[in-house]
Symmetry: C2
Subunit: 158 residues, 2 copies
DNA sequence: TCAGAAAATGATATATTATAACATTTCATC
DNA sequence: GATGAAATGTTATAATATATCATTTTCTGA
């Protein structure tokens, strides 16, 4: 069985560092400004492998001493999602850091209802099935939302 | 190409009538009460093949002369979704009538961003791909959300 | 370097979606 | 008809998101 969710006790600093490096690269390529606020929001999202709501981000920024209003957070989120650095999880109204922002993909999200962690898959079987099904009914795809809730392997076996 | 979205000029009264008949049957089997309010909300949802928000339902009920508060609508929606008579479209925060409420299924939703119509598919390729992908990573599925946005065949070709 | 334009953020207000908590009414059953 | 359970009414508020205009920061070109 392949791993999807990170192992317990993994070096999370590496996740964050890698995400930041990739985000910088993407912004560079896209000639987009990775400002302090955007970087802060992005880093906060990467504090865990869970999805985070806009107001949790707002609270976190406020605790850090910033006085921030909702539009500031939503703007940063819009910037990050537009660039594909962050994905919105529709069924949670929450946001999740992407670990492959450099390539276009139709992602699928596994959401553990026990531990709250989210994992992104880029599974061709699923993508292909969606594309094929759309083709069969003459539907021209613009965006897909595939979110799967249940128990991750850790939670299911403990 | 198989049809998924209803044809223009189809006899929509038949859709509504069929949906009501099926809903009555499901409620009967489940020994659940299809009260006036639930029937009204259900019928309003079936007024079109679009997804409807809770507050649109509230407004519609109000126009009909009822003085209804949000909890009333949300309770009816909870009842209907629990029974599988209505599905929630997560990416729209809106609700959509199911036309096969009698059988368990992992549905997929095609949402036309042009005309606003929604169509439910029960496509085994997609379901199987999701189930298989979950199996490969040891994920125990509780619920799935598959929503596909784009242009329906009518809108794409006109 | 600095003037002007563009982009980003700040600030205020408000829209939209959803639920908690308790009161009252309706309904099935005895 | 009395009783308890289910449904609905009522009030208040929580949670999520955006519109609008003001101000600040950054980029660009003279």
């Amino acid at each position: 069985m392949s791993d999807l969710f990170p192992k317990k006790g993994h070096d999370h600093d590496r996740c964050v560092h890698s995400a930041l490096t990739q985000a910088e690269k993407v912004c560079d390529v896209e000639n987009a400004r990775f400002t302090d606020m955007r970087r802060k929001v992005f880093t906060l999202i990467w504090q865990s492998h869970k999805a985070v709501t806009a107001y949790e981000l707002l609270d976190a920024l406020t605790s850090e001493g910033q006085r921030v209003q909702p539009p500031t957070v939503y703007r940063a989120l819009e910037f990050l999602t537009d660039l594909g650095l962050v994905h919105r999880i529709e069924s949670l109204n929450a946001y999740f850091g992407c670990d492959r922002p450099d390539c276009e993909h139709l992602g699928q999200y596994f959401i553990c209802t026990q531990c709250g962690r989210v994992a992104e898959a880029v599974n061709e079987d699923m993508s292909n099935a969606v594309v094929k099904a759309a083709g069969q009914v003459g539907f021209d795809i613009q965006a897909t939302t595939v979110e799967i809730k249940g128990l991750c392997h850790d939670c299911a076996t403990h």
